[in-house]
């Protein structure tokens, strides 16, 4: 009997060592500074609230309303924010159908650096099949549609990695006796599809129509609860705007109007 107990204790110890190794693995630590944060190009900066209760509309599969604390803790590995946040307003249609069950939708006000409303943004985000928790990749495929009246619209395609958030915010919250976390966490969520970890930005209308750009989404968190998700958080989108198209001159076929000698 004591041999069986030793074996079981060994298995538990091994699993615990593995879990600690995954969570504290230094090779899956935060990436460095995004190139968009140090670019010389003109950028559009948009701020928004990431807290579902402060959004215009936030909806998901609504499971957070029914699931047990244990189920919620287990699901937090898959979708740290989606698994815990309740839809807002309470009577909004939930995304319970199987093909959209792992998707969340958000509509929020976009503000500029002076906190003035400049438009409205919609974000659709789904769990990605590219997720590999063993390698520190809790990936979500997401798109933003941003409408800035008078300026145009932007379509942002990105993959986001929630692993650093899970490791540094969600896990400490889950481990704490009060099931919440308070502090200051700032991280870049965007990890692709651009080679430098940037999002692909297109414009459907307005001044940048047809221009391909780069973007970055970052998340600043002050409070997180395992029971209700993000409590204090702000998101930021940075879009790198290339030189105005009017100034561009075709280098292959110079016309009489060009300044080419």
């Amino acid at each position: 009997m004591k041999f069986v107990i030793a074996l079981v204790l060994g298995i538990i110890t091994g699993a615990a060592i593995f879990a600690a190794g995954i969570i504290y693995n230094p090779f899956t630590a935060h990436r460095g500074l995004s190139p968009l944060l140090v670019t010389d190009a003109e950028v559009i900066t948009l701020n928004f609230s990431n807290v579902p209760a402060e959004s215009i509309v936030y909806t998901n599969n609504g499971e957070s309303l029914q699931q047990s604390p244990l189920a919620r803790a287990l699901r937090i590995w898959k979708a740290p924010i989606r698994s815990t946040s309740a839809p807002h307003p309470a009577k909004v249609l939930q995304l319970w159908e199987a093909p959209i069950r792992s998707t969340e939708a958000l509509a929020t006000v976009m503000r500029d650096a002076r906190s003035q409303t400049v438009g409205i943004g919609f974000k659709f985000s789904s769990d990605s099949e590219k997720s590999r928790l063993l390698f520190g990749e809790a990936i979500a495929d997401s798109v933003w549609y941003i409408l800035l009246p008078g300026q145009g619209t932007f379509f942002i395609e990105q993959t986001e990695n929630y692993w650093p958030f899970l490791r540094e915010v969600a896990f400490p919250a889950w481990r704490s006796s009060a099931n919440n976390w308070r502090g200051s966490w700032l991280g870049d969520m965007t990890t692709g599809p651009g080679a430098l970890g940037t999002a692909a930005v297109s414009s459907g209308s307005g001044r940048q129509k047809g221009v391909q750009m780069n973007g970055l989404e970052s998340l600043s968190t002050r409070a997180f609860s395992v029971d209700s998700g993000l409590v204090g958080a702000e998101g930021r989108l940075i879009i790198e705007v290339p030189e105005t198209k009017d100034e561009w001159v075709d280098p292959v076929e110079p016309t009489d109007n060009t300044a080419t000698p």
Binding site: K2, F3, V4, A6, L7, V8, L9, G10, I11, I12, T13, G14, A15, I17, F18, I56, V57, K78, P89, A90, K91, V92, L93, L95, P99, I100, R101, S102, T103, A105, A107, V109, T117, V118, G119, I120, F122, F124, S126, D127, E129, S131, L133, L134, V143, Y145, L147, P149, G150, T153, F155, E157, P193, A200, S202, S203, G204, S205, G206, G210
Partner: protein, 195 residues
């Protein structure tokens, strides 16, 4: 006993690694219902049953809000903006994604755009013409796409189709979206671009 504990530790390490390695996210996929059209490309139809698939209507000065309790921002800059969020269905009437339709007036151009998000496939941005064409449909161009839709170009039409059924539970009608995709021709190594 110590040997058993050591073996157990190795088993625990290996078991946890195997469990995490085997853990995968699997999106539920509905089979795409795509039709090949004679002059090249593919056509796919989506629809939205109104009112049951409408998640949100955001517009200034609404009398009743959807969803109940919606607090649409009151700001001058959003005075001419109307945005709606929907679930979208395929030709078999199965929900396969979500979409947003935004309309804005003012400035140099009127904007009407759709973004369709199909979790298992990707997303697509379509800019529609401001004025509807004869027959009540509006034509739009696919401006951008992600994942499966990123190499595709093409068009999409939107049309309101009223329901003539007298069934009490029937929707009042549906928005029909017909997308026509054309892939971008990829040049092979020995092929030269046509000037």
């Amino acid at each position: 006993m110590l040997r058993n504990f050591f073996i157990g530790t190795l088993l625990g390490l290996a078991g946890a690694a195997a469990a995490l390695y085997g853990y995968n996210v699997n999106q539920v996929r509905e089979v795409s219902i795509v039709e090949v059209i004679p002059d090249g490309g593919n056509r796919e139809s989506f629809h939205i049953n109104i009112p049951m698939d409408r998640i949100m209507i955001g517009a200034p000065g609404q009398t009743g809000t959807l969803p109940a309790g919606l607090d649409w921002p009151v700001d001058e800059i959003l005075a001419n903006v109307r945005a709606e969020m929907f679930k979208i269905r395929n030709a078999r009437d199965t929900v396969i994604g979500v979409a947003v339709r935004a309309a804005a007036k003012g400035g140099d151009e009127d904007i009407i755009e759709w973004v369709l998000h199909l979790p298992a496939r990707g997303s697509v941005l379509v800019s529609m013409e401001a004025a509807p064409r004869e027959g009540g449909y509006r034509l739009g161009e696919i401006r951008a796409g992600s994942r499966e839709f990123s190499p595709l170009h093409g068009f999409m039409t939107e049309r309101w189709v009223a329901n003539n059924s007298e069934d009490e539970d029937a929707p009042s009608g549906h928005i029909e979206l017909m997308a026509s995709y054309v892939g971008e021709h990829q040049l092979s190594d020995d092929e030269e671009p046509i000037q």
